[in-house]
């Protein structure tokens, strides 16, 4: 065994670099231990501690480098010394790639860090699993951010907590379970873009809000703000916290002349509270409690609407100061019904609707109820006709393909068309089916070509049916505008080319499809 201290005079290296060289030197065969250090008193002491000290090191000054080696023999020593000197020369060789100042620079992991580094943040979009979404929303609100929350699996208690916090801080808490919002002319979530205008909307229904906005756009009017509240806001467990706050905001908002309120039927206590607030509202309010009745709404001095199309029409009339006149479109539809039913084969009797928008599915059922006696579905709107197996249709069936049964582990149906394409193929192949009803949701965040991707399967199914001597009627509406990235007119062309009967709104499409099914059943 040989201990050797090699002195290199007047050669400075910093200790960290030297530790790296020592580590590499220690891997040279025959080297038992290696250490490098400047010749300071401290380092000499350390070499003694490590049993690497040799007399010659005493002479080293703090400006001299000591290379201390414990090796098997002289040959190893020479090899090790050469290797160490080579390593010392390599000092300036640059490490390639990976490094640099910008490594990991702009990524923020927490909302607080993002707020600190990004001045002007005013909105947090949250689509995490519910267990995490609550905490992040609380953090966002406490940082003064408005929140749009797509996540929906959170408790009522947490929803109330977040909405109360938002109200205290005068922030928007849109959601949980908010699909669509349109605030400051920005489409948030899976929303369509519309022109600015005088109508402000508050909705506890994503597709209901979307359809109403699209119909307002179709009628040539525009939207000031559309505030989504999440589907449960008017349940008594939540008490309409976000809706009441939004009513205050839109009543005070200078751009808003007419307010539209959309929700599934509210809880009794909440309905009373919200309608009382509507009653004292200084601006006209159009109310669509999906499937609700007009009495309490008109008693509150508000305007009742049964469909989203009617909601839009009434709001537009109010904004323009015109009187609302219900339109009878059934006459136009009858002609189409006759044409379609004439081509149906004997066994073709049933309607199947496959919806991406849950509220649109419910609206379709409400519209068709007077026409068809039994409408099965997975929406829960008609509990007596809830499907036993959501994957198997019975007679007339309306499927909301956006429910958890179909979307588990995948994005929403408005983003991922695959589950609906699959279901459509099954329904189209069923010889008892006369008419299939579809909705197409456009907008930012939605699939970039929802009609195009369905056009092929639809055209194919119609052709196959024809080969089997059947006429497959496909009726649809497009929920989108010319301002959407998919452009409603371009999407319409694709459906028409595929042989789809396209109606200007969901309610009309449902009306037509219901009439076709009713006629098919009768015939």
């Amino acid at each position: 065994m040989l201990i050797k201290c090699i002195i290199r005079t007047n050669e400075y290296h910093d200790s960290v670099f030297l530790m790296g060289v020592a580590r590499q030197a220690g891997q040279i065969p025959g080297v038992r231990r290696a250490a490098l250090g400047m010749g300071t008193a401290m380092n000499k002491g350390l070499l003694k501690d490590m049993e690497l000290f040799e007399e010659s090191a005493d002479a080293a000054s703090p400006n001299d480098l000591i290379i201390a080696l414990r090796v098997a023999d002289e040959n190893t020593l020479a090899a090790a010394q050469a290797e160490v000197e080579r390593l010392l020369k390599e000092k300036y060789a640059a490490k390639s790639g990976g490094g640099g100042f910008q490594c990991g620079a702009p990524a923020h992991r927490t909302i607080a860090a993002a707020c600190a580094k990004e001045p002007g943040l005013n909105l947090a979009l949250i689509s995490l699993p519910g267990e995490y979404a609550v905490a992040e929303a609380a953090k966002a609100l406490s940082q003064g951010l408005n929140v749009y929350m797509f996540s929906d699996d959170i408790s009522y208690a947490d929803e109330v907590m977040l909405k109360q916090l938002a109200r205290e801080k005068n922030l928007l808490m849109m959601g949980p379970g908010c699909g669509v919002a349109f605030v400051q002319q920005v489409a948030i979530g899976l929303a369509s873009k519309v022109n600015p205008g005088a109508i402000g909307l508050i909705a506890a229904s994503g597709s209901g809000l979307q359809e109403t906005m699209v119909q307002i756009d179709r009628l040539g009017e525009g939207v000031s703000h559309a505030i989504g509240t999440g589907g449960r806001d008017l349940r008594d467990e939540v008490g309409g916290l976000a809706t009441l706050q939004a009513l205050d905001l839109l009543e005070a908002d200078a751009q808003t002349k007419v307010i539209v309120l959309i929700s599934k039927p509210p809880g009794a206590k909440t309905a009373a509270a919200v309608l009382e607030r509507v009653r004292v509202c200084r601006k006209p309010v159009v109310v669509n409690f999906i499937g609700g009745t007009p009495e309490s709404v008109t008693a509150a001095g508000a305007h009742f609407a049964a469909t989203f199309g009617e909601t839009a029409e009434r709001a537009v009339c109010l904004a323009r100061g015109e009187a609302f006149k219900p339109r009878d479109t059934d006459a136009d539809l009858r002609e189409i019904v006759e044409r379609e039913t004439a081509a149906h084969a004997a066994g073709q009797r049933y309607l199947r609707g496959i919806f991406c928008g849950g509220t649109l599915a419910e609206e379709a059922m409400m519209v068709m109820r007077p026409l068809l006696s039994e409408i099965h579905s997975n929406t829960g709107l008609l509990p007596e006709f809830t499907l036993k197996d959501v994957r198997v249709s019975e007679k007339h069936t309306i499927i909301d393909i956006g429910t958890e049964d179909f979307t588990r582990g995948r994005p929403h149906a408005a983003i991922d068309p695959a589950p609906r394409i699959e279901r459509f193929a099954a329904e189209a192949a069923d010889p008892s089916v006369a008419v299939i009803l579809l909705d197409f949701l456009l907008g930012y965040g939605c699939h970039d070509d929802p009609c195009g991707i369905m056009a092929g399967p639809i055209a194919g199914a119609i052709a196959n049916a024809k080969k089997s001597g059947r006429r497959l009627s496909v009726v649809a509406s497009i929920c989108g505008t010319e301002l959407d990235p998919q452009r409603a007119s371009a999407q319409l062309r694709k459906l028409l080319d595929a042989g789809v009967i396209v109606m200007p709104g969901n309610a009309q499409a449902a009306q037509l499809a219901g009439m076709i099914a009713a006629a098919a059943q009768a015939g």
């Binding site: 960290v16 640099g100 995490l128 920005v186």
Partner: protein, 479 residues
């Protein structure tokens, strides 16, 4: 009932997206700025706290906590530590007793202490002349005639084994913004592995300690008092700009201070004298002379972070080679401990192994409590290489740790962070929300008490979860 009647979402809309990026893209296509958060779920071990944390963020408590932490932030930014004196500990440290030996880290029963620290305490008793033999020293401890206490509880920083005896000289640093003081013994010249440092003792060490008491200490004390002290904050400010993170590396700070001291020695001791020679010799041989002063400065600053009602800031971080402990402002002097973490890094000797080193021992991570060391990693390219990492990694470490900090310390501007302040003020709530653990830079010490390398460790999560549970129980009865 009316609220502030303006739409709270103002233009221009600027969003942060947490979750599926398509929501951010939907805004970007409209020309609206949207930042994607690199969100990660909190570790499974933290799942149980997320509900309470969310309630705390949402409830009335949020404002109280923010206000309390605001006071802590103000104290950090206003801190103005001055090195004002060198004196025997018993003369300047409040509460110290003649029969007391101090050591690093949270308190630990004698039997559970690591041998390095046990040896150090015994050596301390011998040094004080309280016993003649190690056996007699142990007997004094068992009988309670000598009290072994945590240096940290007396505002003293004990690096390594942290052994300090009442007669030993300490650097006295005072935060002039508050009048609060921190203490740390000077490194013992060339024998840095000595009594204070790592628990070894020898005739040379004894001789040097006595020289500090008799010669060096009194002269430097006289100079410091004549000068009205030396401001430390400016030295660290400059050092951080010059490549120091002030824990593992304080080369620039040391040069600035020693340069100043040499001029002051010539000014106040113009004629050659034995005392001046001893001082000069001491300064020449004590490479890391600044380090204890930097640590005492940090300790003086953390004193004003303590006992702020509701504040969730960490005031102390230290280990004893067995356990690592933290204190939290609102929880006063309660310790929250977990098994001490091992360091990873580089060894002086080629054949050193992880198993040879002690888990974290020492109070030096008080520097991390004020935004230095691991938090200022971006200041020091050289220290980055300790881990065999790139400078980019060091910058990333500082940026990551910013996520658990309450502020950026305006006293320590880091060039590589575009002259943003070093992330400062560890918030236990943020640690538990993110699972990001404070990184602490430090020396690696062998089980026999020798310095064998340098590296980095992460403070154990259990320290923070323990503190949070107590915080909830004591201060917030959340239903």
């Amino acid at each position: 009932m009316t609220t502030n009647p303006t739409i709270p979402l103002t233009t221009p809309v600027k969003a942060v997206n947490i979750g599926a990026e398509l929501f951010a893209d939907a805004l970007r296509t409209q020309g609206v700025e949207a930042i994607q958060l690199q969100w990660q779920p909190p570790p499974a071990a933290l799942a149980e706290f997320q509900g309470s944390l969310a309630k705390m963020r949402a409830g009335k408590s949020a404002q109280r906590i923010a206000a309390a932490n605001g006071r802590a932030i103000a104290a950090l930014n206003a801190a103005d530590p001055w090195w004002i004196d060198m004196k025997p500990a018993i003369e300047v440290v409040p509460g110290l007793k003649r029969n007391m030996i101090l050591k690093s880290g949270p308190p630990l029963p004698w039997e559970k202490s690591c041998p390095t620290q046990q040896n150090g305490v015994i050596n301390g008793i011998l040094h004080e002349g309280l016993a003649d033999t190690p056996e007699a020293a142990v007997e004094l401890i068992r009988q309670g005639k000598v009290e072994v206490a945590s240096a940290n509880d007396y505002a003293i920083v004990g690096p390594g084994a942290g052994i300090l005896t009442p007669s030993m000289i300490v650097n006295v640093v005072e935060d002039r913004a508050t009048g609060k003081r921190g203490f740390c013994a000077p490194f013992e010249g060339p024998n840095q592995g000595g009594l204070c440092g790592w628990g070894t003792y020898s005739p040379e060490i004894r001789r040097f300690l006595l020289e500090l008491n008799d010669t060096i200490g009194p002269l430097l004390s006289r100079i410091l008092r004549a000068e009205g002290g030396i401001a430390v904050r400016q030295i660290i400010t400059r050092g951080v700009e010059m490549g120091d993170e002030t824990h593992t590396r304080q080369d620039a700070e040391g040069l600035i201070l020693i340069n100043r001291l040499l001029f002051l020695l010539m000014k106040h001791e113009p004629s050659p004298s034995a005392a001046r020679d001893a001082c000069v010799d001491f300064l020449e041989k004590t490479e890391r002379f600044f380090h204890p002063i930097g640590m005492a400065s940090a300790m003086s600053v953390t004193q004003s972070l303590k006992n702020i009602e509701d504040s969730t800031i960490v005031t102390t971080l230290c280990g004893n080679g067995v356990e690592y402990g933290i204190k939290v402002s609102a929880l006063g002097d309660q310790w929250f401990t977990a098994p001490s973490p091992q360091l990873t890094g580089m060894y002086l000797a080629s054949d050193a192994k992880a198993g040879d080193t002690l888990p974290w021992i020492g109070d030096s991570s008080v520097l991390e409590a004020v935004g230095l060391g691991g938090f200022a990693a971006a200041a020091s390219p050289a220290v980055a290489r300790l881990l065999g990492r790139t400078f980019g990694d060091a910058v990333a470490q500082s940026r990551e740790l910013a996520e658990i900090c309450l502020t950026a310390n305006r006293n320590f501007l880091v060039p590589a962070l575009d002259y943003n302040g070093s992330p400062t003020g560890i918030d236990i709530l943020k640690v538990l929300e993110t699972g990001i653990l404070p990184a602490i830079h430090g020396g690696m010490i062998s089980k026999t008490g020798l310095r064998v390398g340098a590296g980095v460790a992460r403070v154990p999560l259990a320290c923070f979860s323990g503190a949070f549970k107590t915080y909830l129980n004591q201060l917030f009865k959340i239903q």
